[in-house]
Amino acid sequence: MSDSSLENARALIAALPYAHALGLVLTDFGEGWAEMEMPYSADLAGDPATGVMHGGTVSALLDTTCGAAVMSHPDTGPTTATLDLRIDYMRPAVPGQTIRARADCVRVTRSIAFVRATTRDERDDPIAMATGAFTS
């Protein structure tokens, strides 16, 4: 992606209050795919014993990355909404590490975009994956 379109897309994401609250950053995107990062925050821990970030934050990262992948697809409209999202939590992220997500549109029809996404922490191990249907 050219620097200016990445800047524009980043500004679009930064204008979403909840994405801003979680510190989500769009790191790259292309036609029908997107990559984002979420920094660690102790305020968003879900398990008081380990400090691991709550699953809800990972859901938000996955949902946002999937939405960005849908909007970057050439055959979709300017906005999208999540119809359904399944998240599999495969292992806890290491507390303190940034979580990276990548989402790809698997198939886009006139009404629906089918999207898959995975997240990894700095060890590059899969943390969670998502399968979603979005309006296109």
Binding site: D43, A49, T57, D63, A81, L85, R86, Y89
Partner: protein, 173 residues
């Protein structure tokens, strides 16, 4: 000759114990505090409440709640309901106290294996409510369904089903 029945515990003592335990359970999770989620209790029935706040918006044009907020809110409602179901008998019998919950290692919450969210309507900039039902609770796994609504109980804006792995109890002593 009158028979002495054991007197039941005064109702305010029972309520105080239940509420203090629930508050201790909920209060130790930073994510719940950051989102501002609170719980109301009627007997053993819990309702999760997410007061609206501007920072929860995901689509500023509509505006609508972020899908990740809805997912996180429903997951919190499901996990707390499940944990509450697990400890309820022990709370009633006085075997689990609010002080026990101060130790984060004492009662571990079940871990989410998967969570599937059905987005039925966009989340309006209003307070949201959720109630969860434990459909199956075995020794190792549990399945929980949760419904979320805003102004109207019959018009859900989202529902979800999750599977959880139970944690081995680590009691003191």
């Amino acid at each position: 000759m009158p028979v002495d029945f054991p007197r039941p515990e005064p109702v305010q003592i029972v309520k105080q114990r239940r509420d203090a335990t629930l508050n201790a359970l909920v209060g130790r999770v930073p994510y719940i505090r950051t989102l501002g989620i609170v719980f109301e209790r009627r007997g053993d029935e819990l309702t999760a409440i997410l007061p609206f706040s501007e920072k929860l918006i995901g689509n500023p044009m509509l505006p609508a709640l972020h899908g990740g907020v809805t997912a996180g809110f429903l997951e919190v409602a499901a996990v707390i309901e499940l944990t509450w179901s697990i400890i309820w008998d022990d709370v009633e019998a006085g075997r689990v106290t609010p002080e026990d919950l101060a130790d984060p290692e004492a009662i571990r919450m079940p871990k989410t294996v998967d969570f599937t969210i059905d987005y039925l309507r966009s989340g309006l900039p209003r307070d949201s409510y959720a109630r969860a039902r434990v459909n199956r609770m075995g020794r190792r796994y549990a399945s929980v369904h949760v419904e979320g609504w805003q102004d109207n109980r019959d018009r859900l804006f989202a529902q979800a089903t999750g599977h959880f792995v139970m944690q081995a109890p680590r009691r003191k002593g």
